[in-house]
Symmetry: C2
Subunit: 439 residues, 2 copies
């Protein structure tokens, strides 16, 4: 080998099957987005470092990939880096293009992002994100639409899911009411462990995390929370009755649950949800697959100040992100990829000589004009090799062309699954493949 080829650590090639599967996921998601009026945008892979730095915390800054022009002196151009997520570029996009945008702005974006994380199983340095957001309205109808989108996407993909929902204002209210406004994270982490370690150990942990006995006492009704969403919400409402932000959170939750009451997807009020707390200001969502242990496959929430960092304050929005890699794995594990998603070749014409090849090309042209996906093996080769090619590409039919067939103006059609063969005319073949096209 002149040079053993390889790719950078943490990156992947996507072959034909993987691409077909990913295209299936994305096209399903996109067609649902379109039904709700969301429009696609794309931003450049590289952003100015001034756009990226300081947006992801100190750790995040270290995980940014910087870009340098080989021929350029460092001083010549402003520093650039690869996009780390789709949120910051989107915020930058809104501020930069605010004059062209008519709000509320419903956008989605499906693009790769890059992080210099230590590569490990299931964690890559290049991966796709798929974000959908509504910007410029406080209406909780946007939360409803995202819930409807989640339901419809997973219904179409055939994945059974549960949507967990929380509200940052409720968490803030609880923390205020028990007199520990700075302990939101500690409280949610503790609640999350309730199932695993039990009430007593949770209380111990809260003590270790610096909560007073009084605070822990006041938190007990929250830790004991159970029943339906309505029952839970009633308990929370009572506890937060005198707290302004908390009561606002309860109202938001009540409205969203009421708006979504006709949805068939299971929705669970879940106080342990605390994703990106410093970022979200209202509803918080997380979607979990019911039949696979894989964590969250979609998540997001409402934020009140996405664009403030770029000088445009008070732009409220709500959005969710579909985890493409995890959805890919769930569909694979549950064997939910439909055969048709491959959109592969339906029939291969064999070639055993120049005359046969030209005969096949005429048929291929006629079939393609009818919308059929056709390949002609491009050169004379052994039958075994050509059949092997059809097998490897999962082509369901092979048309064998020989002297007899050409004389009779037919082909010998072989169904690869059953091995059955029969002589057919072009008309018959066309009908068989068009049914196959629809079926």
């Amino acid at each position: 080998m002149a040079q053993k080829p390889n790719i950078p650590k943490g990156t992947r090639d996507f072959g034909p099957i993987e691409m077909a599967r990913r295209n299936y996921i994305f096209s399903t998601i996109r067609s649902v987005f379109a039904q709700y009026g969301f429009q696609q945008i794309e931003t450049p892979a590289m952003e100015l470092m001034t756009t990226l730095m300081g947006k992801y915390g100190e750790e995040g800054d270290k995980l940014l990939f910087r870009i340098q022009n080989s021929g350029e002196k460092a001083s010549e151009a402003p520093e650039k880096g690869l996009r780390y997520d789709l949120t910051v570029p989107f915020a930058r996009y809104i501020v930069q293009h605010r004059e062209e945008i008519s709000f509320p702005f419903k956008r989605y974006q499906i693009q790769p992002v890059w992080r210099a994380d230590r590569p490990q199983k299931g964690r890559y340095r290049e991966f796709y994100q798929c974000d959908v957001d509504v910007i410029g309205t406080n209406s909780l109808v946007s939360e409803l639409e995202l819930i409807q989108i989640v339901e419809e996407v997973y219904r179409r993909l055939g994945i059974r899911v549960c949507l967990h929902i929380n509200n940052r204002k409720i968490l803030a209210g609880i923390a205020e009411v028990i007199g520990a406004p700075d302990k939101i994270t500690d409280i949610t982490v503790a609640i999350d462990k309730l199932d695993k370690i039990g009430l007593e150990k949770v209380n111990d942990e809260l003590r270790e995390r610096g909560l007073s006995e009084e605070a822990i006492d006041k938190l007990q009704p929250i830790l004991a929370l159970e029943g339906s969403n309505a029952e839970k919400l009633e308990t929370i409402a009572r506890i937060l009755a005198a707290n302004e932000v908390g009561t606002k959170g309860v109202e938001e939750m009540r409205t969203i649950l009421d708006l979504a009451k006709d949805q068939t997807l299971p929705i669970e009020l879940d106080l342990t949800l605390a994703r990106g707390l410093n970022y979200y200001t209202g509803a918080i969502f997380e979607v979990k697959a019911l039949d696979v242990q894989i964590g969250s496959i979609t998540g997001g929430g409402r934020y009140d100040n996405l664009t403030g960092i770029f000088g445009l304050p008070d732009v409220s929005g709500v959005g969710i992100s579909f985890g493409a890699d995890r959805i890919y794995d769930v569909l694979a594990e549950l064997e939910l990829y439909p055969e048709s998603m491959l959109n592969g070749t339906q029939i291969l014409f064999t070639a055993f000589g120049d005359a046969e090849l030209r005969y096949a090309l005429v048929w291929a042209k006629a079939l393609r004009a009818q919308g059929v996906r056709v390949e002609v093996y491009p050169e004379a080769a052994k039958m075994k090799k050509q059949m092997g090619y059809a097998d490897a590409k999962h082509i369901p039919y092979v048309a064998i062309v020989g002297g007899n067939e050409m004389e009779a103006n037919t082909v010998m059609l072989k169904e690869m699954n059953s091995g059955e063969q029969r002589q057919v005319t072009l008309d018959t073949l066309c009908k068989i493949l068009q049914n196959n096209l629809i079926g």
Copy 2:
């Protein structure tokens, strides 16, 4: 402004309309590729510098973007760079995955590439390439298929084109026959100027470029070449009769023209085509739009040793690349984008209060279940604002919901183009929008 947002020089944001247009182009191209059994692959944005360096000449090396991990010491990791084209990553892919691939391998790839070129009008530092190749066969049926694909793609897009075709072996033969085997480029450049500057000045230029009087004399029949493709080819065949490589080129050209004789797309044998000469070894293609002056919008050719640089010799292939940015511009200039391509919202429900909003949400859900693309304005706002929103998004219908309509179980349907209004039931609305969906 806290920070005026911007993007790096030579990069672009793509808004909803631009994205819809690009998606229309790519989905048209993809569905044609699928009809010929081509499969999509993707490679990582970053490749090892050892993969990229030395593949694009000295100038190309300078135009590579290098990538550095912010938190990583320079010595820790091998150097990485952004993909400069799709050809070298494809060659790397074939060698790396050769055990999994069943040849002939028909692949396409639609991804951005990055070049640190000086940005100028129409030249970007990030742009999409769209490459389609057949690897692992010498059959000229592959050339035919690419011609068929060109014809079908531009037929579907509605762009009238002419395909120019040449052959590197014919050019090599001519150069050998006139005794100037190292002057291929000079000869093609000179022929290309024939129309503009005339025979005499072309001959002067050939002299300046170092061709002998004898060579120039021998070249005159080539410079005088005219007539149909068959007539041109006959003349060339006569001139190259005693030359081995030239005669091989003539045979290839004859076969390809014969295979493509039933195509309706105009094909022109054009000896001035010399794209990437050092790279191509057989057929060379270039596609020009007939109704717009924009240069080549698709081009490519056959190469005999794509993967040699990565240690796998003798892998022949043929491929073409669709110029997405130029096709975009041609469609815009000729106003060929179909309205339906926007795949936009079909109807907007207005909102003037909570009861109206909830009424609209029920209708929206029913319509979406029938495949209609629906938006509900998410909050009460002035009529003018909501109508402005529908206008800005080119939404053709608005459903106005008021007390009367709710009582009558109807909506007031406004057709935005004509301004006509009428009260309709859900059933009627559904029929109107579904016709609109198909039409």
